[in-house]
Symmetry: C2
Subunit: 204 residues, 2 copies
């Protein structure tokens, strides 16, 4: 091999960096630990990504690129609000079961450095509320759902779906459940949350 950096090594680094960064955060992660996880020399991290900040940004962007389509899904398809809510809830919970750390990771690191989001906003996949806004207004107009702003509805959908994963340790303690019980509680939400939202907004 020549001329081209070994893509395999690069992927290995990203994979290891993802593991370490997502469990320890930018500040808690150590370059040596990432190198060990990847099974390579620490200098390689710098050879491929120059420094810790750039490596972190690569991991962060990858994570966001996985999450963004999940959010956009609620916003940009053509089904009714009710169907959207049901699909989103069920899709999101499956998604999390595969990528459990992503939402906490993104929210945590955005709190640490809010300017970070500016680098993502340009991205064409960045979730956009426009279409959803029109749809909510229309359904309200038509009397299909009770008056609510698209922003508030969106926040509610996100909150009910994402929060149980982000606040897992706290909620586990308060509900006095073990891992298995909490997992069941969360899985039950696949339908519970959708029903809860729809109950609230649908007209009688």
């Amino acid at each position: 091999m020549k001329k081209k950096k070994d893509e395999n090594t690069e992927v290995q680094i990203l994979e290891a960096a993802k593991t370490i960064f997502q469990s320890k955060g930018m500040d808690g992660a150590r370059m040596q630990e990432i190198a060990d996880e990847a099974g390579i020399n620490k200098a390689m991290l710098h050879y491929y990504f120059r420094n810790k900040q750039l490596l972190f940004e690569a991991v962060f962007k990858n994570a966001f690129l996985l999450l963004a389509p999940q959010l956009s899904a609620v916003l940009n398809d053509n089904s009714s609000i009710e169907v959207k809510v049901r699909n989103f809830t069920s899709n999101y919970i499956s998604f999390i079961l595969v990528h459990p750390y992503i939402p906490s990771f993104i929210i945590q690191e955005l709190n640490r450095n809010p300017d970070f989001i500016l680098k993502l906003k340009d991205n064409p996949n960045f979730p956009n509320l426009e279409k959803f806004k029109k749809q909510v207004e229309e359904e309200v107009q038509q009397g299909l759902i009770k008056p609510i702003s698209a922003e508030q509805l969106f926040i509610n959908i996100m909150a009910l779906n994402v929060f149980p994963f982000v606040a897992k340790p706290l909620l586990k303690a308060i509900t006095a459940t073990n891992d298995e019980q909490y997992q069941k509680l969360v899985e039950a939400r696949t339908t519970e949350v959708a029903d809860f939202i729809i109950n609230s907004i649908k007209t009688i």
Copy 2:
């Protein structure tokens, strides 16, 4: 002054540590920065709190002791579920306006170190669901609210109230609002969220 550690200094340190830890987290915070913020020598931090971990735990406990009563409020008074939901939502949002960093801080650090909660669980003020459970069951039985488990209802209440603050940078970006607009959006939730919840669970 003698015999007693200068309480003023101790308070100054805790105040400074709170500021730094809550904005940078345990890993991102620097002892020197805390000392500077408190306007004292770095050695004082160790004199009063021995090491970084213990200083952090003091700050964390203080934060949790502020938050816990807010949560217990929903669970332990005697009003109806509907009144409780309204009171909690309105109280919680006022609370956050005074202590904006607390919930993110707690959730973030619990994710970093889930065992941390064990140190809090013993505390008599730790939120307990027992009473709330009975109440929900009763109101369901009486047909006052639709069937829902106390755990799910509690998670929903928490999610709808806490999430907008924890995920502020992300939600600000997606809703394309500036600080002022987002603040308004959140303040509107004082009543919006309560209505949303009650709409969903009340029987017709």
